[in-house]
C-alpha cells in the first residue's frame, strides 16, 4: 500500500497525484489536520516506545504507515527545500524507528521499528532538485527503503 501525505492545499494537487502515483494509494490531505512540530522530547523512543507524546491528528498517519510500503510526500518548497509544512510531517516520523543503533549501508542508523518504507517526493515550485534528490535518498535510507522518484509538479495555468 502507498500512503501519500499531501501537505499542499487540498484539491490543488489531487489530479496530478492520482496521475503520477499508481496502485493501492491512500491520499491523506494534511492541510486541514491538526499536526504539531515534533518537539524532540524522545518519549517515542525512551518512555512509550513507538507512541508519540503529542496527541494530535498525526497518530492516524503513523497507524497507516505501519501498513504501508511506500510513502510519498507532496510539498510546496521554500529556500530551495521543502517548506515547513512538508518538513513537519517528516519530522514526526520518528516513532517508525526505535532508539537502538546499527550500521546500515555503512552508516550509523536507528533500527526500524516495523519494516522498510520507500520514500518519494512530489514538489511544487522552484527548488534545488539535486538537493531534494539527495535529501530523499537519505530519508529513504533512514527508513530502510529505496528512494522512489523526485518529481516536480506542473504549475497550473495562470487564471485569466
Amino acid at each position: 500500500m502507498t500512503i501519500v501525505l499531501n501537505t499542499i492545499e487540498e484539491g490543488a494537487a489531487s489530479e496530478q497525484i492520482s496521475f503520477l502515483i499508481k496502485g493501492d494509494v491512500e491520499v491523506v490531505n494534511t492541510s486541514g489536520m491538526k499536526i504539531a512540530h515534533c518537539m524532540g522530547c524522545n518519549q517515542c523512543w525512551l518512555k512509550t516506545p513507538g507512541v508519540c507524546a503529542i496527541k494530535d491528528d498525526y497518530e492516524s498517519i503513523i497507524k497507516k504507515l505501519v501498513d504501508a510500503e511506500n510513502l510519498w510526500l507532496v510539498s510546496d518548497t521554500c529556500f530551495g527545500f521543502v517548506d515547513w509544512r512538508g518538513k513537519r510531517v517528516m519530522d514526526r516520523i520518528v516513532p517508525m524507528l526505535n532508539m537502538y543503533v546499527e550500521f546500515r549501508d555503512g552508516l550509523e542508523r536507528h533500527e526500524l521499528r516495523y519494516h522498510p518504507l520507500n520514500f518519494g517526493l512530489l514538489y511544487k515550485g522552484e527548488a534545488d532538485r539535486q538537493f531534494l534528490e539527495e535529501w530523499s535518498q537519505r530519508v529513504a535510507s533512514n527508513l530502510g527503503g529505496q528512494s522512489l522518484e523526485v518529481i516536480k509538479m506542473k504549475e497550473g495555468e495562470p487564471c485569466i
Binding site: H37, G40, C41, V66, D67, K87, V101, F103, F131, V139
Partner: protein
C-alpha cells in the same frame, strides 16, 4: 562584538541540548569580551523579539539539531517568517549538531545552511558541526558526565575562537567535527562489543523515565493483531 544566537530546536529550553551548547559557547564569547543575547524558538512568545534582533544586529548565529537530515520544521517556519531584505548588512553563521557522531551525517544540512544567508541579504560565516549530542542528554549518568563536560568545554573554546576570528571559517572550526565516517575497525568493535553496551545504556535510561515496554516495541502492530484475534 554583540552576537544574536537563535536556538532553532523545538525542544523546551530546560531539556534542550542546543541550549547547553549555546550556554557553553556563550561563556567562551564572554570570556573574550563579547556579549550575546539568545532566543529559543521552542517558545513562541520569543519569536517577535528574535525577529527584531535578527533585523537589528550584524552577527547572527543559528544553533540547531539535525532533524530528519535537515533543519527542524519549527526553524523552517521561523525562517519563512523573516524579512528577506535588510537595511544593515549582517553575517549568518550556524552551529549544527546531531545525535550520531559522524560528521558525514550533517553535511547535507550544512549545504542547506550555507545557501541560506544570501536569501536574507546576509553573508555566510560558516557552520560549526559536531555530532554525538546524545551524551549531553545522559548528563545524569556518572560515567557519561566527564565526556559530556569535555564536549561542552569544546564549545566554550569555539566561543573564544569565534570571538577572535568573527566566523567559523577557521581550521579549528573545521577540525571540531571529528571523523567524517567511522573506520572499519569501529564498525567491527561496534558489532562485537559496543552495540550491546549502547543498548544496555539506552534501556537503563528508559527505565529511569518509567518506561515499561521494550524499546523495540511495535504498539500499532499489536493493536492490529489483537483486533484480528477478536
Amino acid at each position: 562584538m554583540h552576537i544574536v544566537i537563535i536556538n532553532g530546536s523545538p525542544r523546551v529550553q530546560k531539556f534542550s541540548n542546543t541550549d547547553k551548547i549555546i550556554q557553553s559557547f556563550g561563556k567562551g564569547l564572554q570570556e573574550s569580551g563579547d556579549t550575546y543575547e539568545f532566543y529559543s524558538l521552542s517558545n513562541r512568545k520569543e519569536w517577535d523579539a528574535a525577529r527584531e534582533a535578527f533585523i537589528s544586529y550584524e552577527q547572527i548565529i543559528f544553533a540547531l539539531p539535525l532533524y530528519v537530515e535537515c533543519v527542524p520544521s519549527i526553524m523552517l517556519e521561523f525562517l519563512e517568517s523573516l524579512p528577506t531584505e535588510r537595511q544593515h548588512p549582517a553575517q549568518m553563521s550556524f552551529i549544527l549538531h546531531g545525535g550520531f557522531d559522524e560528521g558525514h551525517q550533517m553535511r547535507l544540512c550544512e549545504r542547506f545552511l550555507q545557501s541560506l544567508p544570501e536569501q536574507f541579504g546576509c553573508t555566510y560565516g560558516g557552520c560549526l558541526t559536531q555530532g554525538g549530542s546524545f551524551l549531553i542528554r545522559m548528563r545524569d549518568d556518572e560515567k557519561m558526565k566527564k565526556a559530556m563536560e569535555a564536549k561542552l568545554d569544546g564549545y566554550t573554546k569555539m566561543g573564544q575562537s569565534f570571538a577572535s576570528h568573527g566566523n567559523f571559517m577557521t581550521t579549528e572550526a573545521r577540525k571540531f567535527t571529528g571523523p567524517e565516517k567511522n573506520p572499519w575497525f569501529v564498525h567491527l568493535l561496534f558489532r562485537l562489543f559496543i552495540k550491546r553496551l549502547v543498548r544496555k545504556n539506552f534501556e537503563h535510561f528508559a527505565q529511569q523515565w518509567g518506561c515499561t515496554r521494550p524499546l523495540d516495541d511495535k504498539p500499532y502492530l499489536r493493536l492490529e493483531r489483537n483486533a484480528a484475534h477478536r
